[in-house]
Amino acid sequence: MKPILLIALCVLSFGSSFAKDAAPLADDPVIEQRLISISEEMRCLVCQNESLAGSRSDLANDLRREIRTLIKEGKSDDQIRSFMVERYGDFVLYRPPVKPITWLLWIGPFIILLIGIAGLLTYLRRRNNAVSIITLSDDDNKRIDALLNNKSGKGAL
């Protein structure tokens, strides 16, 4: 009986040590929803390929806690965003704001697209012009007819 008790005790103590690691849930689902919608748009600075909402790093935990407090204080989403940008720079935002330094980033792809379209059009136009118009003589026409007849004859085979 005793070993079973011991095993049960071990299992139970394991359970409690894991339970300790669970992230604290906010009591208010509305706050939690806003937290997720804000932090999904933000980069975790420690593991840069993860969003702040998805990261399990210590800093992300702290920042989520901070955002939660800001929401409870009644700050708007924009205020919370600027709170983060003041500290970590535009880098935290997955969607960089449109300003002179990011103009190239936002407009660049369209400029490249325009250059591509212009290049394609000039190429096509030049290729059209390169095709020279050849006038066929009667002899040529006869030869062509002969060849075509020959071919259709072959096709009948």
Partner: protein, 176 residues
């Protein structure tokens, strides 16, 4: 006609240049928006004198260095001898910000490895760290006489950085 054949090669060279620049930059190093902004104010207890607090306002009028460290941070141990060297030079006072640490661990580390800090502020929950945009310890700030952040370095300071950036900057800031 020859230019046409060279075009792919030229494009390739441009691509290689872009990749080379990209690879040689540290993606962990995010430019701080705090440069040339006043150092955020705070008032928290000191590490060793628990009943005394530290506030950046008390450093007004001198050039000083804020170094974010922790006993659990391996890179900080690597950096520590450089900080001791910096303290010996007496170029500027170094204030430590002990980030999310255990008091006894932090004091033990300073006892064994030497204490380069004039004092350390004890940021137990990392709240001050958030205001300073700390995301990877160690981080080092050079703050001028007016309390404006002039330089930030993320990651351990090396003798190279000390000699090439921090010492010249301090002596320049001392003059003004």
């Amino acid at each position: 006609m020859k230019v046409k054949f060279l075009l792919p090669l030229l494009l390739f060279i441009v691509l290689v240049i872009f990749l080379a620049i990209g690879l040689n930059r540290d993606p962990q190093e995010v430019p701080s928006p705090l440069i040339n902004k006043p150092a955020p104010a705070f008032e928290i207890p000191q590490l060793s004198e628990t009943n005394q607090s530290f506030s950046p306002a008390s450093m007004k009028g001198q050039v000083w260095i804020l170094n974010v460290w922790a006993s659990w941070c391996v890179a900080c141990r690597e950096e520590h001898p450089v900080l001791v060297e910096l303290a010996k030079s007496k170029a500027a006072p170094i204030i430590g910000l002990d980030y999310k640490d255990k008091r006894e661990d932090a004091l033990a580390m300073l006892a064994t490895q030497g204490n380069p800090y004039l004092l350390s502020a004890f940021d137990s929950n990392g709240r001050v760290g958030i205001d300073y945009g700390v995301y990877g310890v160690p981080e080092t700030y050079v703050i001028d006489k007016a309390g404006v952040i002039r330089f930030k370095h993320i990651g351990p300071i090396t003798m190279n950085i000390l000699n090439q950036k921090i010492y010249p900057l301090i002596s320049e800031l001392q003059k003004s």
